[in-house]
Amino acid sequence: MADDLKIKVNGRLSPVAASPDTPLLYVLTNELNLWGPRFGCGLAQCGSCSVLADGVEIRSCVTPVGAVANKSLTTFEGLAAWYAEQKGLAQAPALHPLQQAFIDEQAPQCGYCYNGMLIKGSELLAQTPRPSEAQIRSHMDGHLCRCGSYPRIMKAIQLASTTMAGATR
């Protein structure tokens, strides 16, 4: 049964050796060698493990891999290509604009949250290209930063929103 399971991650279809009840995070890390998504709380409470499934953020630490077999998954590693696909760009940039904005605003600190912040922030910007501060707060609620870097993350999302708007003109 498990032999037949395949998942599509960052545009590539990969066979899964783990049993279908295995949380997606374990497969991404241990089988696909993708280290962007992180084990944070293991309880879907912090967002450290987030990935996109058909463009929608999910918590990979509690999502059985068997449940995402028919979805197109995007991890931290695939964000730039996912963005290029959305924008119809011929070539993916080195970084998603939000990743660049995280550098420009010096947003991340310890490393616990930024995978989830980037995944959730990218989801937001895909759905709502020019979000208000209230919309950002509401959308990002549920992703925890232990360092308290929220104000810089807010600025980074706003900056990315601006640069992404510029890219379409």
């Binding site: 080195a94 990743q99 991340p108």
Partner: protein
Amino acid sequence: MNAILTDTSAGPLSRRDLLKGGGALVVGFCIGGSALPASAARGDAAGPPDPNTIDSWIAVHADNTATVYLGKGEFGQGNTTGLLQIAGEELDLDMNQLRSVQLDTNTVPNQGATTSSSSIHRGGPQVRAAAAEARQALLALASTRLGVQTGSLTVSKGVVSIDGHPSRSVSYGALLGDKPFNVKFTGIAPQKPINRYKLVGTRVPRVDIPDKMTGKIRLHAAGAGARHAARPHRAASAGKAPMATAPSPSSIDESSIAGIPGARIVRKGDFVGVVAEREWDAVKAARAAQGQLEGERDAAGQCRPVRRACAPPRPPTP
């Protein structure tokens, strides 16, 4: 952090293994993405470096950059950036001419624990003194090369020139490129007066952030990233498997995990662990075994928790 370095179950981790990591194992920071000739100046000697020699602290490369060996870990608190600013100030190097090597006790001087917000307070003076001493050594070499006293030399961006004659110059890289200083660290070299500081006290971008955003830094010593601290070597070492541990259980019914493929109980001293080929199976086995522990109290009446699985083996990067 120490877990990476003290786990020798897959054989000793040599300085060369660590530094040539080249994507297989990125520890600490490789700023600018260039190949890091960190061991070039010092060779590949095994064992903790001697803190009493400048070569243990700083290496100057042929491309007029320098590596600073830091015995402090970066957890996102920014100490790498701060310590490189301190080194750059004394050496008159820009931030883009500096990189650091960290997290390998076989490579970096022992600066003590990275705790208590003390990296700059305690580690800073050491780095400053080492960089000041390195500068004096470089000025001595430049003095010979340019045929003037060190007092008439000035340095900017690692280029030493004669005061008033900027064209008569030589770079640090040309003076020493990847050769050892062979200078004792006395700690008494004159340091730059604070009123001449140009780099310390300014805002510079944190050096650890770009590699986090590109995913180059895949190991992290803090928080969630600690799970990522598994050595790639472990994956290749047969018999190593994910493991979950429970403190001091008096009894575990081994049949409780019988239905989980490959899972078995291992005991060592006061610990009981669960191992399995796959991490998730180990987690499931730990949870199954937890049932056996529920209600178990120690002498003080405290319930003994079962800990979650520890770091999984990490597959080698192709």
